[in-house]
């Protein structure tokens, strides 16, 4: 069924009888060409592009619970491509371009809102680093804009310019950055993939891989064995848990990242703002809630919940940079499992097991990467070669010393 304004009107006038399920609820087939583990943003996007770009129709997505229940349903909805390193920037810029055409591609309004993202600068060293980054973005074909203090004051008059412990000195803006209605991304990809024949199978937990002399033949699941020519894993925070079933140790730790939303408020913020001298970034949803977050709690966790110190740390940052939010009330706090890699950058690669492919280690970058991750993983699965924009995301880069370390924090995941 095609969605449109006319359709909405027609259904309204005929009692909404005509709306059909956004995706089918099929029984798993015994064998697929490609099975994707993980019904999150990346898995569903991979399925969509496999079907729509790489002409792979015999595909299933297996989801342990309900689709979109992982990080795609619990992030802070930001999209941007303001990366520094050549291993990352072309990939994230490709992602941003895919976001820009996503709604038409999916016939689903994910409320992609390119209202800009602003990284505030508080020291000379930070300015040097951000100018280097802005240049890298432009040299990679993305947009970036350096704003001096007067410009920041004009655009963000509500920031703390009076008694800031770390005064604002400028900012690096990416005007094409913004936010997306996160749940809609999962639903839109699911609906589009389903429309092209992909089986989306919920409540189907993968309990093991069937590996015969070095070749992956399929997966054991809570709904029986499902054979597959190729198996792609895209389970983000559960990567460690899942790949252990294939006896793999990964350059990844799972950490908890908390996010927060305030009560609904009339429009306050023009776009995404990130505080450069503390751990705080914020945007405002279409519903009016301030959606904000900061750093991961910092310890390994699969619990999907965090603790007070980080809540306080984030709010301290918020009050330091925009004290006008003080009387807005924090409504809800939740946690997601971040697959923090050893250099802060992801992995999209084959494993040493033939027919078994891996996509993970997204750290904070997972949501904004969703379309490109899906496209590149689909490319790898369909062509058995890395997508040109994802050639650096190899498993062996840590062995060979080709890390992609945006923050320069080294092999300590909780610092990325």
């Amino acid at each position: 069924m095609r969605y449109s304004g006319f359709r909405v009107i027609k259904e309204a006038l005929t009692g909404h009888k005509g709306w059909t399920p956004a995706w089918r609820d099929p029984e798993p087939k015994p064998q697929y060409d490609i099975v994707i583990i993980g019904g999150g943003g990346h898995g569903l996007a991979t399925a969509h592009y496999l079907a729509s770009v790489y002409a792979q129709a015999n595909v299933a997505v297996l989801e342990k619970g309900w689709i979109g229940g992982g990080n795609v349903g619990r992030n802070t909805t930001i999209i941007r491509s303001n990366y520094l390193l050549d291993g990352n920037e072309p990939f994230y810029e490709m992602s941003l371009k895919l976001w820009e055409g996503l709604e038409q591609d999916l016939n689903y309004n994910a409320m992609i809102s390119q209202r800009g993202i602003m990284n505030l600068i508080h020291s000379d060293a930070q300015r040097d680093a951000f100018i280097r980054r802005g240049n890298a973005m432009i040299l990679n074909g993305a947009d970036a804009e350096y704003l001096d203090l007067p410009a920041i004051k004009r655009e963000y008059p509500f920031l703390n310019f009076d008694d800031a412990r770390f005064p604002i000195k400028g900012g690096l803006a990416q005007r094409r950055g913004g936010t997306v209605r996160h749940d809609a991304v999962a639903w839109g990809y699911a609906r589009a993939a389903d429309g092209r024949g992909v089986d989306i199978i919920q409540n189907c937990e993968v309990t093991g891989f069937r590996i015969e002399n070095g070749v992956c033949k399929g997966v054991e699941t809570s709904r029986g064995f499902i054979g597959a020519g190729k198996v792609g894993c895209a389970v983000a925070g559960s990567s460690g848990r899942l790949m252990a079933k294939a006896d793999m140790r990964l350059p990844i730790e799972s950490h908890v990242l908390q996010a927060f939303v305030s009560e609904g408020l009339k429009p306050v913020l023009p776009g995404v703002i990130t505080f450069g001298a503390g751990h705080f970034y914020v945007s405002q949803s279409d519903k009016g809630g301030l959606v904000f977050g900061g750093d991961i709690d910092g310890y390994n966790s699969y619990a999907q919940r965090g603790n007070l110190p980080v809540v306080e740390d984030v709010c301290e940052g918020g009050m330091a940079i925009m004290p006008m939010i003080g009387r807005a009330r924090l409504l809800r706090m939740w946690g997601g499992i971040m697959d923090m890699s050893m250099d802060g950058s992801p992995i999209i690669d084959r494993t040493h097991i033939e027919g078994l492919y891996f996509n993970g280690g997204w750290c904070y970058g997972g949501f904004k990467a969703t379309p490109a991750s899906g496209m590149c993983f689909a490319h790898l699965l369909a062509r058995d070669a890395p997508h040109p924009n994802a050639t650096a995301y190899r498993f062996d880069r840590f062995q060979t010393g080709h890390m992609i370390d945006e923050k320069g924090m080294g092999n300590q995941p909780n610092l990325h």
């Binding site: 969605y3 449109s4 304004g5 909405v8 309204a12 909404h16 059909t20 399920p21 609820d25 309900w66 072309p90 709604e103 038409q104 309004n109 809102s113 020291s123 060293a125 300015r127 040097d128 100018i131 280097r132 980054r133 240049n135 890298a136 973005m137 432009i138 040299l139 350096y146 008694d163 412990r165 770390f166 749940d183 009560e263 609904g264 408020l265 009339k266 306050v268 279409d286 919940r305 603790n307 306080e312 984030v314 709010c315 301290e316 940052g317 009050m319 006008m324 939010i325 003080g326 009387r327 807005a328 009330r329 924090l330 409504l331 809800r332 939740w334 060979t400 010393g401 080709h402 092999n411």
Partner: protein, 981 residues
């Protein structure tokens, strides 16, 4: 100022009348009122508008679970959007206005949405607004954003103060109703350290809202007596106006105390609120239960409220929402409301009970087996349409309708660690499951004991269990023990626009539609319809939605499951989580020993980490910072300058294995460093990347003083402790930071020795022979003050660093300035320091950026192959040793007047300018007075073999392209003759 709906009795103080304003109109209430009770007393039912359809709304509840009666409280910078009128305590001069309406509450233009509601069903926005593509940001979204949201912020900085506090106890009791009070009495009498917290301003919970008695006294009097006894116990701390917002790991609870919200403005120096972190061994959740509504068409009109709320208003606040009221119930509790209001002289139009077999009443008519089908009244309830058991319909005239669909145990906090509730058939409600947060127990209505007796009994029993109290239990007070009589009934058949989530406008129809479209998991239902995502987080709405979803899916409610309750229990101001950590107090400020002196000199300061350092010292007539910096550099290179470098980290390393330890920590060798000598050291992370650099001076065989960069001091100390305790546990090494113990000043320039000669006591020979480059030692100055002297140089000049106890730093700086007059001694700041180190080609933070290796820094040969050191193995990886690896070089513009920008990228002189042809980047840049040109340090591919090559420096983001030449990074005195002079 009439209070038309004020009844007799209640717990308000009629001797303290209070004047307040709502939407520009003055009203009067009394001490003890909430804004909602006072407005109802004045016959104001309309208090807000709903989120999506802008429907008129009045209070649904009398507590913090309120979804409807949200107002903007106070004004100016203290404006508080979305404040619940049902919990806002009345104070004299209170000002509130309604929100999310235009132009006025009574006439809201956006109410047009209600007319269009058939088009604006669940998730409609996912299906449209896609064409034309560009219209979303430009047209659709701004309109949607303007319509959305609830209240508005003042956009001014919050003027109030907030505090954070920490309390420890044996037992934390959450909720001071019958169960909580009984538990506190039991634990308190047993001598335990108890904290009893309640969100209300008066303890007692439902006891303050009911008419029955305990031990033959009025329930609220019994509660008052219990509170009096508890407050006399030193081991019991009572926290009223305190909401426990979250159950976190290992018995840590967050609680918010509203210290001043019931005042016009906080008293001077006093906080508005305090965020408490409560550490407890055991916790008792005694949070009671929350009544739930029944869905029927137009069940959202002002005047339709929960029956228990109606009872609270009548009994506690002596208020009725209208002179003539009706009740709609599926259980016995609804009849209590009718009895209490009747007793207070309120006309009961009828009690509509869905059950066919309930008792009749002599006082008012009971319609058995009947249902409310619909209501009327544009801005407030006027009539209720009722369907009788025999199928006939009747219209009831009433200004208020109390609805009782049964009670939900208030188990919010039991879910904060992902515990799942279980279904109780008898109560037809969820009760706490068995996977509670560690140490948590639940008692009273929160655990399904819905009678007063049940609450008192479990309160005592569970407290004794939790604290393992031995001996005979005290006597239990006498109280009513009515059994729960309920027949589950969730929504009236045929209902379309029956509201489930009254704030977010989620109706029965929306739930049906989301099911029809395949959003069948409760999480999908919630996200697709926004059910339970309003500011009340579904406390009154979730159950109805679940029940309908269960019916549609042909499952039980238990199989359908629930969404997760997340902290906080009620919304908390962001400022409360920050406390005093904001503004200038966001981080502690570290001042250098010469700070006060520098201030006198009119120095300009800059934040470096938490330090404030002098950036430059303007002199009269200098109009641009460059003039000051250039002068400071020139004067230092010409004669002598002084710079406070106390901020550099200093770590005292002692022990018989100190030298071997440094051999592990630094990639270059230290074992053979003679006593009295200092050496530059480069520290690698285990991954082979440069971590930090500095010097280590050997004061004795077993004693080194290590310096770190200002930024990395804490990190390096932690790293060294890791090596000491975890990697080399048998090394005899002791570490301690001495950063702040010493005021350390760099004295640099050709005349530095002459100046120091006047300070350092005569018995110490600091001549080049006796105290050569890289010497160090203990000395005394100014007639016997202990001090340390290091002959090290960051500027490239003949230079020393002299250290004295921090308290003498101020005096030493003044002395250096005085004694240095003859040499035109010049204080210099971090800018001049930076210029000189760039001129000298010394790497600093911009070069040690966490991705560079010793090889990149041109120190590849320093990494000793003769010994093991942290990072040496992984530094050998091929990717870190590529043939065209980045190397640190200097760059100079071909045209002296051209600008050089740090952060600029290097491109070949010809060829395309893009990422694929990137040759490297500029890390640091400065104007060099010595070369009368801007210069820069850069990382350049194969830099070491490209000296003299011409490149383009491009910085598109700052719109700059200049031609530069690659030169040695050592712009000044490359041979190092000066510093050895």
């Amino acid at each position: 100022m009439t209070q038309k709906n004020r009844l007799s009795g209640g717990q308000i103080d009629r001797t303290k009348p209070m004047k307040f304003m709502f939407d520009g109109r003055f009203h009067q209430g009394y001490q003890g009122d909430t804004l909602a009770s006072a407005l109802l007393a004045n016959n104001v039912r309309l208090m807000g508008r709903s989120f999506k359809y802008h429907r008129p709304r009045g209070p649904l509840t009398a507590g913090s679970e309120e979804p409807n009666a949200l107002v903007e409280l106070r004004g100016g910078a203290r404006q508080e959007p979305n404040t619940r009128a049902t919990t806002a305590e009345l104070f004299d001069g209170l000002v509130a206005k309604s929100q999310n309406r235009w132009p006025s509450l009574a006439f809201d233009a956006m109410a047009i949405n209600d007319r269009l509601s058939n088009f604006l069903t669940a998730g409609f926005y996912y299906k449209t607004f896609m064409w034309p593509k560009a219209f979303w940001e430009k047209l659709y979204e701004p309109v949607i954003r303007k319509a959305a949201g609830l209240g508005s912020l003042s956009m001014k900085a919050d003027p109030d103060e907030y505090d954070k506090g920490f309390r420890h106890c044996d037992l934390l009791i959450i909720g001071a109703g019958p169960a909580g009070l009984m538990a506190a009495l039991t634990a308190g009498r047993a001598g335990a350290e108890v904290i009893l917290a309640d969100e209300d301003f008066s303890m007692g919970g439902r006891l303050n809202a009911e008419t029955f008695s305990i031990n033959n006294e009025v329930a609220s009097d019994w509660a008052a007596a219990a509170v009096a006894e508890l407050s006399s116990m030193t081991n019991v701390r009572l926290m009223t106006r305190t909401t426990v917002i979250g159950a976190f790991d290992h018995g840590i609870y967050g609680a918010v105390e509203r210290v001043s919200d019931h005042l016009h403005t906080p008293d001077a120096g006093k906080p508005r609120q305090i965020l408490w972190r409560i550490y407890t061994n055991k916790t008792m959740l005694c949070a009671g239960a929350i009544e739930r509504p029944i869905a029927f068409d137009n069940n959202d009109r002002p005047g339709v409220m929960l029956a228990s709320a109606m009872r609270s208003y009548a009994n506690r606040w002596a208020v009725t929402p209208a002179q003539r009221v009706a009740i709609f119930t599926n259980n016995d509790d609804g009849h209590r409301t009718a009895m209490d209001l009747h007793a207070k002289g309120v006309k009961i139009a009828a009690v509509v009970d869905t059950r066919p077999d309930v008792a009749l009443s002599d006082d008012y008519q009971v319609l058995r087996g009947a249902q409310v089908l619909d209501t009327k009244g544009r801005l407030g309830l006027t009539f209720a349409e009722v369907k009788l058991a025999d199928g006939t319909e009747r219209t009831l005239e009433c200004g208020a309708l109390g609805v009782s669909g049964g009670w939900n145990p208030n188990l919010h906090l039991t879910c904060h660690q992902r515990g799942r509730p279980t279904w109780d058939e008898a109560l037809s409600a969820f009760v706490p499951g068995d996977n509670l947060p560690d140490g948590m127990h639940v008692a009273g209505a929160a655990n399904g004991a819905l009678s007063t007796h049940g609450a008192l009994e479990t309160g005592m029993k569970v407290a004794r269990q939790a604290l393992e109290i031995e001996g005979r239990a005290g006597k239990l007070p006498q109280a009513e023990d009515a059994p729960v009589k309920i027949t589950p009934f969730w929504f009236v058949e045929g209902t379309t626009r029956g509201w489930l989530d009254q704030q977010n406008d989620v109706t029965v129809k929306d739930v049906k539609l989301s099911h029809q479209e395949g959003f069948r998991s409760v999480e999908h239902l919630k996200r697709y319809t926004t059910l339970g995502m309003a500011t009340d987080q579904g406390k009154t709405s979730n159950m109805g939605g679940l029940a309908i979803m269960a019916e549609l899916a042909g499952k039980t409610i238990e199989q359908t499951g629930t969404t997760i309750f997340r902290p906080p229990y009620t919304p908390v101001p962001i400022a409360t989580f920050a406390g005093r950590i904001k503004g200038m107090e966001f981080h502690p400020t570290r001042l250098t020993p010469s700070h006060y002196w520098a201030k006198e000199q009119g120095a300009v300061f800059v934040e470096v980490g938490n330090w404030l350092r002098a950036q430059w010292f303007p002199r009269p007539g200098e109009t641009h910072w460059r003039q000051s910096v250039d002068r400071e550099v020139a004067a230092t290179r010409a004669s002598v300058g002084v710079c406070d470098c106390t901020t550099l980290g200093k770590i005292d390393v002692q022990g018989t294995d100190a030298a071997d330890f440094l051999n592990k920590i630094y990639c270059n060798a230290f074992a053979k460093l003679p006593v009295g000598k200092t050496r530059y050291g480069l520290m690698l992370r285990e991954d082979g990347i440069a971590m930090d650099d500095g010097t280590a001076g050997r004061l004795a065989e077993d004693h080194f003083v290590v310096t770190t960069t200002t930024a990395n001091a804490a990190k390096v100390y932690q790293h060294m402790e890791f090596a000491r305790q975890c990697l080399f546990p048998d090394m005899d090494v002791q570490l301690i930071s001495t950063t702040e113990a010493w005021a350390q000043y760099a004295v640099a320039g050709p005349n530095s020795r002459k100046l120091l000669r006047k300070i350092v006591d005569a018995e110490f020979d600091i001549s080049n022979e006796a105290f050569p480059f890289m010497a160090c030692g203990n000395i005394t100055v100014c007639g016997g003050l202990r001090a340390r002297l290091f002959r090290i140089s960051f500027s490239g000049e003949l230079a020393f660093e002299i250290a004295v106890p921090a308290r003498y730093g101020d005096a030493l700086m003044r002395r250096l300035m005085k004694d240095g007059e003859e040499f035109n001694v010049t204080p210099y700041g971090t800018e001049a320091l930076g210029v000189m180190r760039i001129e000298k080609g010394h790497a600093a933070g911009n070069e040690l950026n966490g991705t560079t290796t010793a090889l990149n820094l041109g120190m590849g040969r320093m990494v000793s192959k003769k010994k093991d050191s942290i990072g040496s193995v992984l530094s050998e990886r091929p990717g870190l040793n590529a043939d065209d690896a980045l190397k640190l070089v200097g760059i100079k513009p071909l045209n002296k007047s051209d600008k050089v920008t740090a952060g600029g990228h290097l491109m070949n002189a010809q060829g395309p300018v893009d990422a694929a042809h990137d040759q490297g980047y500029v890390t640091s840049a400065a104007f060099s007075p010595s070369l009368d040109s801007m210069i820069g340090l850069a990382f350049l591919k194969s830099g070491e073999v490209r000296m003299g090559e011409r490149l383009r420096l491009v910085s598109p983001v700052t719109d700059l392209t200049v031609e530069v030449e690659v030169v040695s990074a050592h712009f000044v005195d490359p041979e190092g003759e000066r510093l050895r002079a």
